[in-house]
Every structure is written in structure tokens, then in C-alpha cells.
Symmetry: C2
Subunit: 390 residues, 2 copies
């Protein structure tokens, strides 16, 4: 833990199959006019919508619905939400859905009372709302595990016309005030989405883990989270209604990206940058884009952080170091990661996600350039990762 940092995470989490009972209590103290945001209507088929609406109604809330939040929420849709907030005097946003719906709701909460160009200020220039900004409080009922958006300030928005997908991490004023985490609400998620969420979580952990050379408690916590996630993923892909496994996956996803395991560390995030660029070109599912490029990416950067990759093999995958050089051990860890990607049914390549050779230059150009963890990729190296992932 060599860095200086401030940890502040006030989101209150109600976890478990009985957690929905707490929604009325959680809503107390917030205003009467609620904007209810959700996605494509699956919550109406699986009963979650009815659960939530009955609590809102019993709590005397006036509800304005804003359905149709898409998997990669667009700036255009954000502005629709801003309009709804302003026209209806909204006091509180309740997001019912996965990371897209929650990310979206934060964007609306930040932009609703902002008079300038929200896209330019918050996403392009990565500025924070001013100290006296009026920010709408939001809450979340989570229906899909993966992004960690339920307990962080992250908000990834896509500007469709210019094909830019950018993530902004807001400070704790935009974190959900509370989140209802009911593992049973994730049972109806299609298998492909469940797997994408699992890999998204794994990638969040790896992108914080594969950076830095000091001895840091954060990395040991990451190893614990990865071991738990891997064990539960193996159960869940065979038995998606296994409550124990789905609850561990949900809890791991929350703690994988609520700042804890990255505290005091430099971080990587290039896999996410490449993945976002792929999604902007193909609309492929976020978690799958990460799986599709991870193996090529880690094979490329491995030699710059060889000790950490060897440790990953040993601690996370239980690979015995005896009789192996450090390089062989490190490679065996990436082999294990590749085998696990196949085993759980995540994407082993990006061709299957709709990426074709002629898109690669465009995707590489749209990839936001970050310093990376152990190595700063050149443009040609990004192209090479993409080609090796086809």
C-alpha cells in the first residue's frame, strides 16, 4: 500500500433473497417524484417491475417511467432522461436493471441540473460537477451482476454519431445511495449475459491486479475475489439457479469495482479501453469484448510484469511452480485463463463478436490511450492485439 488515497463509499447495500423487503425503508427520506429507469422490459416478464412498483405505490411516490435504456446507453438517451427530470420535477432516480441502467441514471443525475455541455465536460474532459452542483440522488435495484455500478461512481456513455464510448468515474456524490442486491433477481438473466457479467468482473479485478510491483494488501484481496469468482462461475454455468454460486458472483462483482481492491495502486484498464472501442463499432456485449481480447493482450504485456503473472498462476489458478521457469509458470496462468474462458462460454475471439479485419484500424484509432499497467501500448501493438484476437 504505497499510495496515498481517500476511501469513501457510502452506498448502503441490502443483500440477499429477502433484500427486496428493504426497498420501502431505503426510499424513505428521498423526495416524492421518482424517475424509474429500466431497460427492454424483461423486468415486466420476471416480476421485478411489479415488486418495485408495488413498493413505490405503497410508499406514496409519484412515478415517471423511463424505459428503453439500451445495453450501451447513448448520450441521446441521456438527454431524454434530462428532459424527463426537468419536466417532471424529479427528486430521485430509481434504476432497475444492470450496469447500463445504473450508469445511465448517474449520467442523467449529473446532467439534469447542469447548464453546459455534459458530454464535453464530464466525459471528454473528465471533469467533476462543481462543489455546489445540485446532483439528484439515485438508488438501484440490481438485476444483473458484473459492472459494479451499484456501488461506484462509474458511468459509461456512448456518443453514437461519433462512435465514442467513454467511461467517467464520478465522486461519491454520484454513487447510488443504496442498492438492493437480490441474487434471485439475476436468475432470469440469459446465460450469455450472465457469462459476460462474470468475465466483466474478472476483468475488473485483473486490470487492477496487473499493475504495480510493491507488496500490497489490495492484490491479496484481488486474489481472494478471483478465486471465489472462478469457483462460483464453474457452478453457475452448470446450474444457473444455484443460489450460493449466483450470490457469490453478485457480491464479487460489487467488490471488484467499488475502489477497494485498487486502493493505493497504479492500474491498467487497457483491456476495457479496447473493449469499449469494439462495442462502439459492433454493439457487442461489453463483457464478451473483454474476454475476446484478454488473452492476446496479456500474452503481449506478460514479459513486462513477469513476477505478477507468475504469482497469478500460482495463487489464483493453483498451478504448481515446481519444475517451471518463471516464464513457463506465467504462461501457464494465461493458459488457465484461456481454458476458463472456453469453459464458461465467454468469447475466445472477437470475430465471433462481429469484428472484421477492415474494422481493426478504426477500432485501434477509437481506443483511448492509457499508460497501461506494466507496458504502454503503441498504436501498432493495439492493432496487433486486435489481429491476434480475430
Amino acid at each position: 500500500m504505497l499510495g496515498n488515497f481517500v476511501y469513501s463509499n457510502p452506498t448502503k447495500l441490502y443483500f440477499g433473497e429477502d433484500s427486496k423487503k428493504h426497498l420501502a425503508e431505503a426510499l424513505k427520506g428521498y423526495g416524492n417524484n421518482v424517475l424509474l429507469t429500466y431497460g427492454g422490459g424483461s423486468i415486466k416478464r420476471n416480476g421485478i417491475y411489479d415488486d418495485v412498483m408495488s413498493v413505490l405505490s405503497e410508499s406514496g411516490k409519484k412515478v415517471v417511467e423511463l424505459p428503453g435504456v439500451m445495453p450501451n446507453p447513448t448520450l441521446e438517451k441521456v438527454m431524454e432522461g434530462v428532459k424527463a427530470v426537468r419536466e417532471n420535477g424529479i427528486d430521485f432516480i430509481l434504476a432497475v436493471g444492470g450496469g447500463s441502467t445504473i450508469d445511465y441514471s448517474k449520467a442523467v443525475a449529473a446532467a439534469a441540473n447542469y447548464e453546459g455541455d455534459a458530454w464535453q465536460t464530464f466525459w471528454v474532459e473528465q471533469k467533476d460537477p462543481s462543489e455546489d452542483a445540485k446532483i439528484l440522488p439515485i438508488g438501484a435495484v440490481l438485476t444483473m451482476a458484473g459492472t459494479g455500478s451499484e456501488m461506484n461512481g462509474g458511468s459509461v456513455i456512448t456518443n453514437e454519431p461519433i462512435k465514442m464510448k467513454i467511461g467517467k468515474v464520478f465522486d461519491d456524490r454520484l454513487m447510488p445511495k443504496f442498492a438492493i442486491l437480490n441474487p434471485k433477481y439475476t436468475f432470469s438473466v440469459p446465460r450469455n449475459q450472465m457469462v459476460a457479467g462474470i468475465f466483466d468482473t474478472m476483468s475488473h479485478i485483473m486490470e487492477q491486479y496487473f499493475s504495480g510491483d510493491d507488496d500490497s494488501t489490495s492484490d491479496y484481496l484481488s486474489e481472494g475475489l478471483m478465486r471465489s469468482l472462478i469457483a462460483s462461475s464453474r457452478v453457475a454455468v452448470k446450474d444457473p439457479e444455484n443460489y450460493e454460486a449466483r450470490s457469490n458472483i453478485m457480491w464479487s462483482a460489487t467488490w471488484a469495482l467499488n475502489t477497494l481492491i485498487g486502493e493505493g495502486k497504479t492500474q491498467d484498464w487497457m483491456v476495457h479501453m479496447i473493449g469499449h472501442a469494439i462495442s462502439a463499432f459492433t454493439h457487442a456485449t461489453h463483457g464478451m469484448t473483454l474476454a475476446g481480447v484478454s488473452i492476446a493482450y496479456y500474452r503481449l504485456v506478460m514479459k513486462y510484469g513477469i513476477h505478477r503473472f507468475a504469482r497469478f498462476a500460482k495463487v489464483v489458478w493453483d498451478i504448481t511452480p515446481e519444475g517451471k521457469t518463471e516464464g513457463q509458470l506465467a504462461n501457464a496462468g494465461i493458459d488457465a485463463l484461456a481454458a476458463w474462458i472456453k469453459e464458461i462460454g465467454a468469447a475466445s475471439d472477437i470475430s465471433s463478436l462481429g469484428v472484421t479485419e477492415d474494422m481493426i484500424e478504426g477500432i485501434a484509432n477509437a481506443t483511448i490511450d492509457l499508460p497501461g499497467g506494466y507496458h504502454h501500448l503503441t498504436h501498432d501493438e493495439i492493432v496487433s492485439v486486435l489481429k491476434n484476437s480475430l
Copy 2:
């Protein structure tokens, strides 16, 4: 994660060697009359007192000092604090010290505006303050790592005349609003106290870990924390001013007992119950009492939770399972724990802490009876653990 639970931990942590710069900012928004609580005056010798007083003075706070908080804070001392709060119209309590000072400050904060018998209500009957109770906000500048009191609601108080030491875990209203965690502030802690804090932390983790049979992310996080703590403790006992090691120890201590690694789990806590009873009889340092009885305790309960003890050996101590029965593996884990206790210089027995054979019946009687993790101890078994620890 089979249980239902609510996670709420709003304490803001300022971590790192530069963290003291944040004290003025952290104090903003709280009232003007500050009660400054601290222990025996070591903070005056190592400069922490001057650091804090200069910030308080620059922030325009009116300070009432309450020094002399003892290692096992007494109810009598709590009532002295309550009197100071009432007489001086105190708005905020700033605890500068280790767990004892912070535990003490929570007790004063809970009791100051309570008209009934605080000891009876909060500690003996384990009730929470009423919903409309006026609870003083507190903050902490941590000078010693171990108890986790800086980010939880725990408050252990000793009623001297009746030799009862009881811990109460208050809800999030009594958690510190903020804590300054500067690893350098722990450098001047005497070696024996550093080691006691390390074992206290280890015991917090083990007492949450050694309970339950389900597959739970909480246990994987515990394993990560234990691995980190063990690695850093080995560095710190040889080189107490190793910043990296001391920072990991400080951060591990905070996360070992801020509810995270116990969420969704049954827990044990019998080692703490026996340790508290020993302290009430001998004034021995808390962490050392835990070390002194742990080996005998775990040897006794091991057979009731054999899978977990075998896992502990393999994952936490890297003991190879090949060629061992599950029982042999489990025993090897406890052997490793015993060897580590010796290595870091924690107490391997309770005779060295001043316990004599004639005290044992009294200590056993003063031990609060909890269900335990894998096994509910009888009175005779508590006596046996104590005798085997002499």
C-alpha cells in the same frame, strides 16, 4: 453468501503518509467544541499531538482535552468523558490513539445524551440507542493498528468493580465519520504493542473465517487478508520502520473488522470472549491474550470444522496437501499458526501474561458464553482451553 444482510459503512478513510493533510478538511462541517481524547501521553512525545493541535487551532476549534484513556477503558473513565461533554457543550469527539481510545470515544458519544444506565442498556443488554437518540459524531486519528475500531461500531468497555469486559457493536451512527490512517504514526508503537495488534487482526479474521460450511466470497477475502498480514508481519518484526509492511498491516487491520469479511456468515468469537475475561483478571494486552489461547482453542474445535481447517492450511499457509490425510493437513495449519506466533513474538501461553492456575475457574466463569463457530464450548471445555494454554 447464504445469509441476508445490510452492509453500510460510511466512514471516510484518509490513508497514507500524507493523510494528516486532510484533517482540516475532514473536520469541516462538524461543530466548534471538540473533545480531544487520547491515552498516556505518547502522542506528545512522537509529535502527533502537535500535528493535531495545530490543525484544530487553525480550524478555529475550541478544544477540551481528555487524556488518560487506558488500554482497557473503564466504565468509570467513560462517565468522566460524559461529564466533560455535558459541562462543555461538546459537538464532536476526536480520538487520537489506538482502538482503546476510539472504543472509548464511541462509548462517551453513545452515553453522553443518554439518561438511563448506559452500561446496563448498551453493554449488558446489548441494546442500540433509540432511533431519535442524539449521538455525538466522532472522528479518529489512528496511531496503532489492530482493533479495526476506526471503521466499525465496536466499543469494548471494562466494568472494573465487577471484572466484566464486554464488547458492544453499535450501528453505523456510532462509526467514526472519518479516520486518518497514517502508517508512519504507528512507527513509534512499542514492538510488543505492534505484535499484539498484528495478532488481534489475525484473530479477527480467523474468528469470522472459522465458521460456516457454505462457499462464501467472504472466506476468500479473509484468506487474502490473512496472506497479506502474515507476509507483512514477517517484514515488520525484522524492520519495524518498513513503510510498505506497516501500511499493509494498518489497512488489513481496518478491513479485518469493518463487517466486510463477516457478511452473510455465522461467526465464532470465543477466542475474544476468553481473551476479554483474561484481560479483566490480569490487565494483559488484548492481542496477546488472544494469541495465548488460540492454539489450544483451535486444537479443540478443529475436528468439528475439519474441512475449513484443512483449507486454512492449504490456502493461507501454502502447505501441500499431497500425502496428508485431511486431519494431518488441518493439524499442519495449526502448527504453522503456532510457529508464526513464536516467530513474530506474540504470546505462546497465558502464564507469561500473568495467569495462574487459581485464576482459571474465575476466568472461565467470566467468559461470555457464545455459540461458537463449529462447536459450542461447555464450561469444562473453556477450563480445558485455559489449562492447556498455561
